[in-house]
């Protein structure tokens, strides 16, 4: 009797957990499903290679936004990854130093800062001073978002490396920099790469910080000193526009964005896998 009650209780609890797990991933499938249904029809070669057509005409593509996103995210990586990884290594190597404690705290605050605040910040410091919107301002805003994420994951990954490994290198006569870079960082490099990829995936979809900085554009442009298009901005503009063709493009663009994030996350997964045990 009591045994039966305990079994029933266990089943109910397990059932609740399973329901929670399903509910947790349900939105992702709903999003993917909706985007597929609404967006996949508009994805064709022209979508990737052509520029937008005037309102009212059908067809056209978002090549300018693809180029814009690549350029801005790429530039943000050039700025953000070295700083973020460097700061992470510093915080892990001198964990008790005042600078590391302060940096860690500020990075946590920055991680929780709404991205639109970072956009306003970039607007104040770059756009307002230069008196024009630019892709570079967008990159700077994205870089500011990336740095704390990359820094914290880098630090956490380094802290996961067993202390004994560091001691082994030091005891072998490794100088400190070589211990840190050649042994410790190298050991957790897949983890750091994963953190970087996830940060890239996160900022690639950011819209708010680009609204005040890159602004968006209808033209193909490769100059970071000009206003620049980006995929999230296309979604924002087209989805809120009045034309059916725009809506279709917005759905397709959203689908591409989520696929990009998906691919980056997948790449992050692969990077964490041990690749060493291949052929000798």
């Amino acid at each position: 009797m009591r045994k039966g009650f305990r079994r029933a209780k266990s089943r109910v609890m397990v059932g609740l957990l399973v329901v929670s797990a399903v509910l947790a991933v349900l939105p992702l499938f709903l999003i993917l499903g909706t985007l597929m249904v609404k967006g996949v029809g508009s994805i064709n070669w022209a979508f990737f290679t052509q520029l937008p057509v005037p309102p009212g005409e059908s067809g056209g593509g978002v090549a300018h936004a693809i180029v814009g996103t690549l350029l801005m995210v790429g530039t943000a990586c050039l700025i953000g990854l070295p700083i973020g990884i460097g700061a992470g290594i510093f915080a892990a190597e001198w964990p008790a130093s005042r600078l590391a404690t302060a940096t860690r705290f500020i990075a946590d605050v920055l991680n929780g800062t709404p991205s639109i605040v970072v956009g306003v910040f970039a607007w104040t410091w770059i756009v307002a001073r230069q008196k024009h919107f630019s892709g570079f301002a967008g990159s700077a805003a994205l870089a500011v978002l990336m740095i704390p994420m990359v820094m914290r994951t880098t630090e956490e990954m380094i802290k996961l490396v067993p202390h004994s490994l560091r001691e082994a290198a030091l005891a072998l006569g490794f100088p400190r920099w070589r211990t840190s870079l050649g042994v410790v960082v190298r050991t957790c490099l897949p983890g750091i790469v994963t953190g970087a990829l996830l940060a890239i995936a996160r900022v690639a979809g950011e819209t708010a910080p680009l609204l005040f900085t890159a602004l968006g554009s209808q033209y193909m442009g490769t100059s970071l000193q000009q206003p620049m298009a980006a995929l999230p901005l296309v979604v924002f503009t087209y989805a809120s526009g009045p034309y059916d063709d725009w809506h279709r493009l917005a759905w397709a663009t959203a689908l591409v964005l989520i696929l990009v994030v998906f691919v980056l996350s997948l790449a992050a997964r692969l990077a964490t896998r041990r690749r060493f045990d291949g052929p000798r």
Binding site: S164, E167, A168, L172, G173, V183, R280
Partner: protein, 258 residues
């Protein structure tokens, strides 16, 4: 390798006290280690034997707040003197740890070569020779010679520990410190390391920390007994185990505490 007269100890400490913050983990330890002998440090957990070992290659000071007073001399030179190059010191005094610590991103070959490459570029043939020699001395060559390029983490833990010994001896140190090197190994792995020590002492001065008294009795020429941060007694291993002078040593040896 005998650059100094055999009558002079290779390594010597005098009045050595090691602190973690305000706490002294070992107090006033004076010991001398002769070349080509195995010296065992025994004692219950927390007696300071590992701390003492770590003062001999200055790994002790890698712990935040740790410091040392007293004297440690290697071939007559104070290793705590300002002019000492820490990295060169650690190449002269190698260390093997309790858990095998192969570098996981490196192949078997690269692990052994790691210490050799610190001096800059080395000709490949020289490197190959040194790696083979170190692995041979560590009794691992026959097992790994056909897979030098595969990951070091694929080896068994006993093999990994022998790899770490090979890595330590490859740069030709004068002293090899071993901190409970068999504590994480099975009996077979333990036996192989113990046999290896007889080979190693032909070339090096060996100091081994062990909490296994049978092991100390089997492998060492001299034994020092540590208790509560104090070096209680030191002498030829046979004497320590059969006719200790100090009552505390006798109590420990006969299993009355620790």
């Amino acid at each position: 390798m005998d650059r100094v007269d055999v009558s002079q100890p290779r390594l010597r400490t005098a009045g050595l006290t090691a602190f973690y913050g305000p706490t002294a983990a070992i107090r006033e330890v004076s010991l001398a280690f002769q070349p080509n002998q195995v010296h065992a440090l025994i004692g219950p957990s927390g007696c300071g034997k590992s701390t003492f070992l770590r003062t001999l290659n200055r790994m002790h000071e890698e712990t935040p707040g740790a410091r040392v007073t007293g004297l440690v001399q290697l071939d007559g030179d104070d290793i705590y003197s300002r002019s000492v190059d820490l990295r060169r010191l650690r190449r002269r005094v190698g260390m093997v740890f309790q858990k095998p610590t192969p570098f996981p991103t490196m192949s078997i070959y690269d692990n052994v070569a790691a210490g050799l490459r610190l001096d800059g570029r080395v000709a490949k043939a020289t490197l190959d020779d040194s790696v083979e020699q170190a692995l041979t001395v560590a009794a691992l060559w026959e097992e790994v010679k056909d897979r030098l390029r595969s990951s070091a983490t694929a080896l068994s833990s006993g093999q990994q520990q022998r790899l770490c010994i090979a890595r330590t001896i490859a740069p030709a140190p004068e002293v090899v410190l071993l901190d409970e090197p068999t504590a994480s190994l099975d009996p077979q792995g333990t036996q192989r390391i113990e046999e290896l020590l007889f080979q190693l002492k032909q070339r090096f001065t060996i100091v081994i920390v062990t909490h296994n008294m049978q092991q100390a009795a089997r492998v060492s020429d001299t034994t020092s007994f540590f208790y509560l941060g104090e070096m209680v007694e030191t002498g030829p291993t046979r004497q320590i185990f059969t006719a200790p002078v100090q009552p505390r040593t006798e109590a420990y040896i006969t299993g009355r505490f620790g």
